[in-house]
Symmetry: C2
Subunit: 258 residues, 2 copies
DNA sequence: GATGTAATCTTGTACGACAACTATAGCCGT
DNA sequence: ACGGCTATAGTTGTCGTACAAGATTACATC
């Protein structure tokens, strides 16, 4: 091996800082077949030379990859690609938030989950859990009467139902989806307003879910929850779509001027 | 303000590199009330002085926090705490892998998803997607005949179905669950063996799913997928439970000796 | 051939310098 | 007095060098 290049230098992306670009390029190289799991990637000096950047940039990029669990560095030995990316978490790409369609797709995911969660909760809920659900339902009214937008109480309500399944992963997953949707929609503040105006309809939907769970009728609970989410996505899809779209385009024009 | 310390220097943890410790300390400070969302944290120079490390270390720590979405840096202005931790990913605590019950709970989550995914795929699949699903089903046989355990092909099969929903989040989520389950079970190699011995039954279950999707019968598709997952969890719950348990206890004894 | 040691390579950390960019204070013109 | 422009200081981004700490390899020695 006289001077065989240890890896091809990918075209660095045009946007972002040097560290961003190098990071992206390295992820591509690791994802590809250039560096299989367990292999050692070139020394920081060599990478700096190949990419035409300083070692500082390489080190910061490696630092990110380490925090994401893609690589692992051993002092004096080198940087190695981690065996498994089992820790690769489930995350939704934040820059798809612009797209109203993607938000609706997340809502669809939530709809599926809420339906099954309600069905399972109907089967398994204990008496205490049933009381907690009823209490959470009341809390929504209390909060709204006190001037709150009721979003927190609404989330707590659905969390109570998820807890009643006895499977903590359902709770964790819908909590994650709540976080995402809240952040995706909070830019406009349109959803909360919509929810506030449609309180009566939402209240009826909630009651239907609670009643079904109370009667341990899992089929009805699933249907009620799905209907609830269907209507929620419809509310999202009609009134607020323009707001969200305009907000997203505005965000595109001013990427970091927030 | 003459010389009010802008933040208290937390005790740096004893283990890990300087970057690790600084990173941890910063996370604590951000999680606490010292630096609320939107606030600017001290300049890199000041932090370097406070922590008694070089600016390099601070920069690498900040780089990690940026990749984790906790902070955001603006050149010439400073480093700011991001508004919401909307990026908080959905991840399953790795140390629950010990518990066979938790694994079964994840399987239940997958069961729910696979059922709904199959139902949606039955409604929406295009002709090309149907062909891809059939192709993936055949590939399982091909791989198994070639001596493979067929796990990869099995995953690819279910991925094809998820793709046919047209909602990429379903695909991403079940891929995440696959990764977790694979890592949770691969220690014993017991599951693959089980799956290999029960090929005929699994094949029948797969065929039922494919036929239902082909006929665009979403109810049948959902039922078939749920049955498939039910049987999978039963297979998991009976034969391999002892293997998994023993493997988990062994893993506890050797936490990082892999 | 086994073994201990030195040379060498790699990552970790520190320091200094400058470029690119921002925000602010202050000056100036009106 | 007020608005707009500029100078200036502060901050992040990038570069380079240097050395410490740990690991690997080669080699000399027995």
């Amino acid at each position: 091996m006289t001077s065989s290049p240890e890896f091809k230098v990918e075209r660095l992306t045009v946007a972002g800082s040097l560290t961003d670009r190098v990071c992206e390029a390295l992820v591509q190289l690791i994802s590809g077949e250039d560096f299989p799991p367990g292999s050692r990637l070139p020394s920081e000096m060599k990478m700096a030379s190949r990419f035409g950047v300083s070692r500082t940039v390489i080190r910061e990029a490696i630092s990110r990859l380490k925090s994401e669990g893609l690589v692992e560095s051993r002092q004096g030995s080198g940087v190695f690609v981690r065996e498994e990316n089992m820790d690769a978490p489930f995350r939704i790409d934040p820059n798809i938030m612009d797209s109203i369609q993607s938000v609706l797709q997340v809502v669809e995911l939530r709809k599926v989950l809420e339906g099954e969660i309600a069905g399972l909760a109907a089967k398994r809920r204990s008496r205490e859990q049933m009381a907690a659900i009823r209490q959470a339902l009341k809390q929504i009214d209390t909060d709204v009467a006190a001037g709150s937008d009721g979003v927190d109480a609404d989330i707590a309500f659905h969390r109570c139902i998820a807890e009643a399944t006895g499977n903590p992963h359902f709770l964790a997953l819908i909590q994650f989806l709540f976080n995402f949707l809240r952040n995706a929609t909070q830019t406009t503040r349109g959803i909360e307003a919509t929810r506030a105006t449609l309180t009566q309809q939402v209240k009826d939907e909630h009651r239907a879910i609670v009643e079904a769970i109370s009667h341990q009728d899992s089929t009805a609970a699933r249907a009620a929850a799905r209907l609830h989410m269907d209507r929620a996505s419809r509310r999202l899809g009609t009134a607020d779509i323009k707001l969200l779209q305009s907000a997203s385009t505005a965000a595109n024009l001013t990427p970091s001027t927030v």
